[in-house]
Amino acid sequence: MYLADRSAPAPEGAKTAPDRGPVRAPAVASTVLALGAVSMITDISSEMVTAVLPLYLIAGLGLSPLGFGALDGVYNGVSALVQLTGGHLADRVRNHKLIAGIGYGLSALCKPLLLFAHSLGPISVILTLERTGKGLRTAPRDALISLSTPPELQGRAFGVHRAMDTTGALLGPLAAFLILSLTVDGYDAVFGVSACVAVLGVVVLMLFVPSGVDPVPTPPAASAKAASAKATPAKAVAAKATPAKATAATARDADRPAPVRLRDALGLLRLPRLRNLAICAVLLGLTTVSDAFVYLLLQRRTGIGDQWFPLMPLGTAAVFLLLAVPAGALADRIGRRTVFLTGHALLLAGYALLLWAPAWPALPFLVLALHGMFYAATDGVLPAAVAATVPGELRATGMALVGTGQALARFGCSLAFGAAWTLWGTGPALAAAAAGLLCCAAVAGFVLRPSAPQDTR
């Protein structure tokens, strides 16, 4: 893959940071590895449940498709909106680890509860709580990753994290099916083991992830203040307000010794660089067709056998896993904007193949490869870019703002795409999405242009 080749001059563990000359920095901070391990373990746990849940509910309990479908739609808003809350809370209590830990803990608690619920109502409640946990932890976790990594290595750090995370997502179903094959209808064993694995994730988080707002990579103006924030609580408060003034908040906020407020969070949107990123994330999210639709379209387009359908997401994940680190490193080297936009170009190429390519035998592999490359080039690169625009004290809030915007936009896209599919049929709906994506990518290319204020690089 060309991404790997391009990053070859800077192999793993290189002591050279681009543009800064030689520095003594490890390839990836230990905090990032610890968080990656936590995510990997937690994803093993949650994907174990995900893999067996349809079978448990539909074949085991006899739920009708609509019953399960009703479950399926419950959590869309939940995770996105909770993410904003989690991000803001983490900045507010100035303890990202605490909020992330509560999120991981809540999800862990939910897994054994599944053993005791066997009708749709309680199961919906449990799964909603599980998603709430996921929403709570996402922004503080990404903030911790970015705060423990120097600015020029953010892309690689997020790439490592996403690769570890996806490894967990791939291992989870394997573990679940292994348990099912060893046991007799061992759903209880799957849920129980999943809970044990989730608890282990929380233990690793508690033991190996530092909690504080680490001052290392905050923008130069804020970093000195942030460093002093660690020294005394009183100064911390002052330091808290200063970057807000430096960035966007009004003078009266700066003079009042106050914790992070909601208005600081909104004030973040007045940061041009963050606002531009948020706008682009939303625009591109609005034209990113959800994975499930891509797999359905791919199956309709190629007529590949039904038995391969459940394997399609694994194809995307495998490519994502292989390329997340090289893509992140490449982003650090040649610019996050370039890689982020290239990712969307790859997605666009995937749409084009789905629309116009002849029925090559290789078509499914090509589309899944492009889909995975899209994730590799965007999923970690976007938070890396966000990290460079938000002061450390509001890092989790900034992550959450962009993350929530993107999630809601993607949800909107799902609804709109479903409607377009109904009105116009498959081909025109995808063509419309592709046209939309092209326009939004062009706008993003312009908004994020190098002359405009954006990365610190």
Partner: protein, 339 residues
């Protein structure tokens, strides 16, 4: 946490041991369940089950112990008697006139491996069809000629807004497969309905080997449709009807009706196909199953076992709305009365 690195590793090791031990115990306990029938449960013995013996009730045995998940049969007039278990394991099963359809789900290497098996009266596999998702509903036409199945297709994690089913009908005489009923023309209230959000599930067949009834969902509503296999078309009859089941005399359908908008709460109803008038049955619990008619007066359906996850019991109730639900067979699912 202010522990030294070696202390941290020690705590981690202890946690891994404790959690690993607990996880191993859970797996071992669940693996040994195979050998131990639960006390007071139904007795099951291995034997020969055939699908052409009128007066037998077949179902999937769900009792703890050996033969869990196996197709079993009992005399219909003595459902409490010892169960004869076959070697056929299914998630969902139905049979009529010597033809059976068995939806099977086995753990594969990377994903669940789902298959529909068409079996003859000796339970020998005639054909198998790969499935795109989790087995949900299965039916065979009264003559044994047609078989239908529905699977739930999940493309991704449960966090995504995504809901899709596939319903297929196969002709066991010609092996012509209608792999996706969504390709059938839909006449909705007299107009041709074309939409991509259409989902079919829960087929039930008439004796004429052409007419069938099913659920169609589109635009957030569920419809009862009457279809023709040869005509490759369906026509809507009524709204808010799910998982229909045609009575042996073909005058009524039993189905589940959503009783509160938006809530996952269903009550079993019976509708007269002549007048489209409906009445609720005496069963007050939420039934999420495709019921089976034992005769023209009695319906059988599965309900989650009280206090036990992953197990269902079979219940019966009068089709006229009178009487009270009665337990037919504990630890059982997918009932079919052989005629």
């Amino acid at each position: 946490m202010t522990l030294s690195p070696s202390r941290r590793l020690l705590v981690l090791a202890v946690a891994v041991l404790l959690l690993g031990g607990l996880a191993a115990t859970l797996v071992l306990r669940s693996a040994s369940r195979d050998d131990k029938p639960s006390a007071g449960g139904p007795t099951v013995t291995a034997g020969t089950v055939t699908l052409d013996r009128p007066g037998s009730l077949t179902f999937l045995n769900g009792g703890q112990g050996p033969h869990r998940g196996a197709l079993a049969s009992v005399p219909a007039d003595a459902p409490d008697s010892e169960r004869t278990a076959s070697e056929l394991d299914c998630r969902r099963f139905y049979a009529a006139a010597g033809t059976g359809v068995c939806l099977r789900s086995t753990p594969g290497a990377l994903a669940q491996d789902n298959t529909a098996l068409i079996v003859d009266s000796e339970l020998r596999t005639l054909r198998s069809f790969p499935l795109a998702g989790t087995p949900s509903r299965a039916r065979v036409s009264p003559s044994g000629r047609f078989a239908a199945w529905t699977v739930f297709v999940s493309g991704e994690s449960y966090g995504a807004a995504f809901f899709s089913t596939r319903t297929a009908i196969v002709d066991t005489r010609t092996w012509k497969l209608e792999a996706n009923l969504e390709e059938f023309a839909i006449d909705m209230d007299g107009r041709q309905h074309r939409a991509q959000d259409v989902n079919f599930w829960g087929v039930t067949f008439s004796k004429d080997d052409d007419t069938f009834y099913a659920t169609v969902s589109t635009g957030g509503e569920t419809h009862l449709v009457k279809g023709s296999i040869s005509g490759r078309s369906v026509k809507t009859l009524a709204k808010n009807v799910e998982c229909p089941s045609l009575s042996p005399d073909e005058t009524r359908i039993a189905y589940k009706k959503r009783v509160r908008a938006g809530a996952s709460l269903w009550r079993e109803h019976v509708m007269d196909l002549g007048t489209l008038r409906e009445h609720a049955l005496a069963e007050k619990r939420s039934v999420d199953d495709q019921a089976a008619w034992l005769d023209d007066r009695t319906l059988a359906y599965g309900l989650p076992t009280d206090g036990a996850a992953d197990s269902t019991d079979l219940w019966t109730v009068q089709a006229d709305g009178g009487g009270a639900p009665r337990l037919l067979a504990p630890g059982a699912s997918s009932p079919a009365l052989l005629r």
